[in-house]
Structures are given as C-alpha cells and as structure tokens.
C-alpha cells in the first residue's frame, strides 16, 4: 500500500460479500487496469464499517467518499467520472430513501465527527494479519525511537509528562507503576498485558487485539525496555478466540522481522511475548488473580502489598497494564508527550474508548477526548435513544460501576468526576438504559453476576453478595419490606469495606447508585408492589387492549403456553392463570395491542 495512492476500499464484510461485493471489486480492478490507472489507484478489500443495510459499499480515500448500493454496471461509469474526470458520482452517493439526501463523507457523520482516534488510529485502515501494513503507517517507529534515542528513564519521563493513566479502571499513573517496577530488586522482570476484559458490555480491548495487535506488542516492548523486562505475557479472555489467533499471528510476524526476540534493532535489547488463554473467570481481571492464573493456579486474588511491582509473577517484579493502556504507548512516544497532554482534562489526559451500547441509536466503539460530557457522547455521538423513548440512566464501569441519572448527564468524563458520582470509569462500558429498564432489576442483575463470579475466598464478598441478592429478589417479587432499603445500605458498606480485592470492594456500587438516584423505583416495588418500568415478572400483568386488537391471531401462535384465546377477527384475551409473562405476544403484535399493567 503506497501512501499517495488513491484507495478504493470495497467492503469485504460478510453482508457486502453476500450482496456481491467481490464481483464489484473485480470489476473495479478490471476498469482501473483498462484505464491504466493501476499505479495511481489501489483497489483494496475493506473491512466492515457497520452500515450493512447500505451495502455493497466502497469508500474512496483520501476524501472519505462513500458509494453505496453499488452494482457491477455502475462501476465503469464511476471509474471514468471519479478517477478520470475527478467528479464524484452524486447519484451513487445519494440516499435511496424518499428524502433523497446526499450520503455525507465519513467525517460529516455525527458518529465519527466527534471522535478523536489515538488508540484506534488504524481502525479499518490496516489488515491486522499483515505486519507490513502496520509498518507502512509508521508502526514500530516508536519502538525504534525508544531504543535508539531514549534512555529507559527517558521513556518513563515521556509517559509521565504525557499524563497517561491506566485504562483498566482505577486510573493509576502508568509512569509511576513503571518506575516502581524498574526500581524494584529482583530478576528477571516481567510485563503483562491484561486482556481479560470481563466487564459485560465493554469490548474495546477485544477490538484493539483483533484489529491492531501490533500496537499492543509495540507498546509492551517499549514498556519492557523502560522497566528492564525481557519477557511479556498477553492474557486473553477465553471468550475471544479471534483475538487469540490475531495476536498469535502478530507475534510470529514480529519475531520474523526481528521486532521481537534477541538484539532488537541491534541495540542489545531482548524481548519476547507469549500468549496465555484465560479460563473464563471474571475475577482474573484482578491483577493478582491474573498472575495466579498464568502460574497455572486457580485465579484467586491475594492481599496487597506486596504489589506486583515488587513481587508479582513467580514472585518477581512485574508490571501489568491493560490492552488499551499499552496501545496508547507507541502514539505517545512517536508524537511526543506534549501533544498527548494537550488532549483531555487537567488530571485525565488523552482519549478514552467507550463501548456505547444498550438502548442507543448508534451503538459501537467510540474514542473521544477525556473531558467530553456524557450528554455529548450519548446524544451527539450515539444519536440518542431509539423509538422515541426517554433516557433513564447510563451504567458505567461494569459490575463495579454505577448508574448515572439524567440530571447528571452534563458530567464531564474523567476519572475523578465519575468516581465522585459513585460510578467509576472502569474499562469504558457505557450501557444506556431507557424508561423500559427497571433499575432494581439492573441492580439484581449485577449482584447476581458478582455472586457467580466471586472466587469465594473472603466472607464479605462470598456471603454478603448472596444475602444482597436474596433481598433484591424479594423486592422484585413484591415481597420487600421498607426496612430492606436500610438493610441493603448497611450490607453494602460491610461488603465494600471488608472485602479483600477490588471485585468485592466495588461490588456494592450498582446497588448504592441505584438506591441513591432511583430510590423511588425501590419504593414503588416495596410499597405499591409495582414495577414502574414493567419488567419484574411477579409485579406485571400482560393484557390485550380491545381497542387496538384486530384479532389477527399472531399472538396466539407465538404463545408458548397457549394462554391466549379468541376467534379470528375478534378481540383476544390472555388467561392470567396460564400466562408466564414471557412477553412473546408483545414482541410479535404489530398493533401495540399487548400492554403491560
């Protein structure tokens, strides 16, 4: 891929392929050859941009011009107009819907416009299985610079000036961590990449490992040089098989090019990386548990100190950072600490990737500068809530995080502000909830998750969470008492202060924040035996609105327990004795006739 080439990225995602994009690519190639444009225009297999319903898609770079719903017959004309005459073909850029609006260029779309790509800089631009493409976009130049023109202390000083903080959750200053490990006695030393991305609803680390694995390897090599380590481990979650494959390929290619192994860049620096596949345990995201797992033991955390920087893997000084943190490192070394520190807020520098999911129009991974408000992310980038529903809360930080209400949407996103609100930055999951989400049910969901994932070592977490779960079940089933709220708060304090590791210490956050911001929902469940969002099964009844029912009978067929009856074209009724409140009738009804009371 030459830099001054015009590139035609013909999507080769599975949807576009099924709509004939391979033929379209072939015709593009044929036409480019025919007009002798081959040394100027490169036709490439593009990766999925996610707008699958508009396929087959081709993006022309530079210029970010999107052509959509292409047919092979369009291509000869398109090539002539666009590449020979320099006139983009408006017809193929126009939305076929009744609005007939022009398809904007990539950077005019809200979802992309507000993003600032540092870690995801190579997103969709390189083939992750080809190291040459990473190198073509200045890959491994940062490692060369770190090895040839910076001292180990100089590297740490750059990271310190950049203000990089751990992206795994707590936001500990990366340079301090590296310095502690560098100064610790003991040999050998290790670096670890924590890819045990367990927070449900967060998948940025998966995406980085799958789409830009060399950025992580390069970051680790730079870190290893700074710390004085020669060996690294990447611990990847069991649920991410593709990430494991991509990283394996990347390691092999880097070894082949001498970018891993002995005497890298002839500087006498030796460094190699091994990949470890996790066993499917959430608690292994905790650093001491993760190291136990690499050692082949059950992943149970131990108390700190000693911190891993002094006694980590096999009792040796170890530095552990998460995937996104490592992937930031090459950008900082290449472009300089001053540039990096210009992004973000006073205490939280750089960008953060969020996975914007749940009840949101544009869901996906978004990389934005720190200090942006939650409102800008949710309504600016995310395009707001679907189906005209009202926003209720956004959950940040996974099971250790909290639920933030609408009144606090103007909160700026940085480590301190989120912690103050009772949530945490965490790994960056942003799960958006609308009026149909029950906050008591959400609290129960997270507590149930943590009950399952608790390693069982310490009592407050193992037993306390179980009791908490029982109380929440009682409330969602309409059996709650007023004293339960106080009991929950008391128990939350005990679990938070008495647990051994971060999993237990932060476990009460979802309960505490929902109690703080959505206490009225708890009260409705307890006092009025009512679930305002219509979620908790024991507290709701499905009925059919006789005004709206057309008697089409679709619901009858969908009901798994034959609880619905009615003649064709007559109003149907649900037998409440038989109904299991599964909601399948509501799902299939085209007339919104099934309502929850």
């Amino acid at each position: 891929m030459k830099k001054d080439h015009i590139q035609v990225w013909v999507c080769s995602g599975s949807t576009c392929v099924s709509k004939g994009s391979l033929t379209i690519r072939a015709v593009f190639e044929q036409e480019i050859r025919k007009h002798k444009l081959s040394d100027r225009v490169a036709v490439l297999a593009g990766r999925c941009s996610g707008t699958c319903n508009r396929g087959p898609i081709a993006v022309i770079e530079p210029g970010h011009i999107i052509y959509q719903q292409l047919t092979p017959e369009d291509i000869p004309f398109l090539v002539k107009e666009h590449f020979l005459k320099g006139k983009p073909v408006q017809r193929l850029r126009t939305d076929v819907s009744e609005t007939k609006t022009m398809i904007p260029t990539l950077m005019e779309i809200d979802f992309f416009k507000h993003q600032q790509l540092v870690v995801l800089r190579n997103r969709g631009r390189i083939d992750p299985d080809k190291i040459d493409e990473y190198i073509a976009l200045d890959g491994y130049a940062a490692l060369a610079k770190a090895l040839t023109s910076l001292s180990p202390e100089g590297i740490i000083s750059e990271i310190e000036k950049a203000g990089l903080r751990g992206r795994g959750g707590a936001g500990f200053p990366t340079a301090t961590k590296w310095m502690l490990c560098r100064q610790a006695d003991g040999n050998p030393k290790y670096v670890i990449c924590n890819g045990d991305e367990g927070d449900p609803g967060a998948y940025m680390d998966r995406s980085i490992l799958e789409s830009d694995p060399h950025a992580v390897l390069e970051g680790m090599a730079i870190g290893a040089r700074a710390i004085g380590a020669q060996r690294g481990y990447i611990y990847v979650r069991d649920e991410y098989p593709l990430a494991v494959e991509r990283v394996k390929t990347a390691i092999q290619q880097a070894r082949h090019y001498g970018l891993l192994g002995e005497n890298i860049f002839q500087t006498g620096f030796d460094f190699d990386v091994e990949i470890i596949r996790g066993g499917g345990a959430f608690v292994c995201g905790e650093e001491t548990a993760l190291m136990a797992s690499i050692e082949g033991k059950a992943g149970r955390p131990r108390s700190r100190p000693p911190f891993p920087a002094e006694k980590g893997l096999w009792e040796k000084p170890t530095n552990i950072n998460n995937v996104e943190t490592w992937a930031n490192v090459p950008a900082i070394i290449s472009r300089g600490a001053k540039w990096y520190a210009s992004l973000g807020t006073e205490k939280s520098k750089g960008t953060k990737i969020f996975s914007l999911v749940g009840k949101i129009n544009n869901s996906g991974l978004v990389e934005v500068p720190m200090g942006i408000t939650l409102r800008e992310i949710i309504f600016g980038v995310g395009g707001g809530i679907p189906n005209g529903k009202r926003f209720k809360a956004v959950q940040t930080g996974g099971p250790s995080g909290g639920c933030i209400p609408e009144s606090m949407l103007d909160l700026t996103v940085d480590y301190e502000a989120l912690t103050q609100a009772g949530a945490i930055m965490g790994s960056g999951g942003l799960i958006v909830m609308d009026e149909d989400t029950c906050m008591v049910d959400v609290a129960l969901y997270f507590v149930s998750f943590l009950v399952e994932e608790s390693c069982g070592k310490c009592t407050p977490c193992r037993v306390g969470l179980q009791r908490m779960k029982e109380m929440l079940i009682k409330i969602t089933e309409g059996e709650g008492e007023e004293a339960d709220i106080e009991r929950l708060e008391k128990l939350a304090r005990v679990i938070g202060s008495g647990s051994l590791c971060g999993l237990g210490q932060t476990a009460p956050n979802p309960v505490l924040t929902t109690l703080k911001y959505f206490r009225n929902e708890y009260e409705a469940h307890i006092k009025q035996k009512r679930c305002p969002a219509g979620v908790c099964k024991k507290l709701i009844v499905y009925t059919i609105d006789p005004q709206k029912c057309t008697g089409c009978g679709v619901c009858v067929k969908s009901c798994p327990v034959d609880a619905i009856s009615g003649e064709k074209k007559q109003v149907h009724v649900i037998d409440q004795q038989l109904c299991t409140r599964c909601g399948s009738c509501q799902e299939v009804c085209s007339f919104d006739a099934v309502v929850i009371q």
Partner: protein, 148 residues
C-alpha cells in the same frame, strides 16, 4: 493414556501448564473425562484434587459431555437490557432444559455467557461458532432449526 501424556509433555510436564493442558484435552474430548483428569494428575505427579480445583474454578471447563450443538445465550449487560433473559427463558421452556443442561436427545446444551463482546448486536446467542444477533423469542426458535 498416550495422547494425554503427549499433551502434558507439550507443556513441559509442569504444573504451571495445567490450564493449557486442560484446554487441549477438552478441545479433543469436548469435556474433561474423569479418567483423563486422573491421568493428568498421575503424569504431573500431583494430587487429583489439584486438577479438579482448576477444572471446577474456571468456567471454560466442563466435567460432563455436552450435546451436538452448544447454545450460549449472552447475558451481558447490553443483552440484558435488550431482553436476553427472555430469550433464555424461551429456550429453557421450548427445549425442556435448564441453563447448563443438555436436551434428552443430545441435540443441544444450553448455557449462559456473560458478554461475548458484540454488544452492538444485542441480544446475542452463539450456537457452536455462529453468532446470531438482534434476536427476539420468535427468531431464536427459527434459528434453532438450522442445527440438527
């Protein structure tokens, strides 16, 4: 057993290689058979309880055989708020099993998983290696028909 010895040797005959050893055995057998576990312990010269401790701690390991197709219903947060639990309920009811069990005809094993990392497609069900997204109760029952 010879094949078990081979796997144990591949990881240096060391206790620290226990997790990848169990992963390899499970990849071949589909689960961890009792005799396999005792063989691994014998090869490594460690108590059987040590092997069981890992095999039961990590969710990826299974001690009982599974059906021809494994259904993983994602119950991550994004799937939860988009109705993942309803899909699980429906599967349990239609297939007559509880989460973690295998149907009597050995066709499906139903399990839950906490986030497979494709939250944009929520709610998601993974059957064998295929990802099925944006499901509802009706669609998931139709999807099952593809797996015999």
């Amino acid at each position: 057993m010879k094949w078990i010895r081979k796997i144990v040797e591949k990881y240096g005959k060391k206790e620290s290689g226990l997790i990848p050893i169990l992963q390899d055995v499970q990849k071949i057998k589909g689960y961890l058979p009792e005799e396999g576990i005792s063989d691994i312990a014998a090869e490594l010269k460690i108590p059987i309880a040590r092997v069981y401790s890992l095999a039961t701690f990590y969710k990826a390991f299974r001690l009982i055989p599974r059906g021809r197709h494994s259904i993983h219903v994602c119950l991550g947060t994004a799937c939860h708020v988009r109705g993942g639990a309803k899909i699980m309920d429906r599967l349990e009811q239609d297939l007559g099993v509880r989460s973690g069990e295998t149907t009597q005809d050995g066709r499906f094993t139903v399990e839950s998983v906490r986030c497979v990392g494709c939250c944009g497609l929520a709610p998601v069900v993974v059957i064998d290696d295929d990802f099925h997204g944006k499901l509802n109760q009706k669609k998931v029952i139709q999807v099952l028909k593809k797996y015999e």
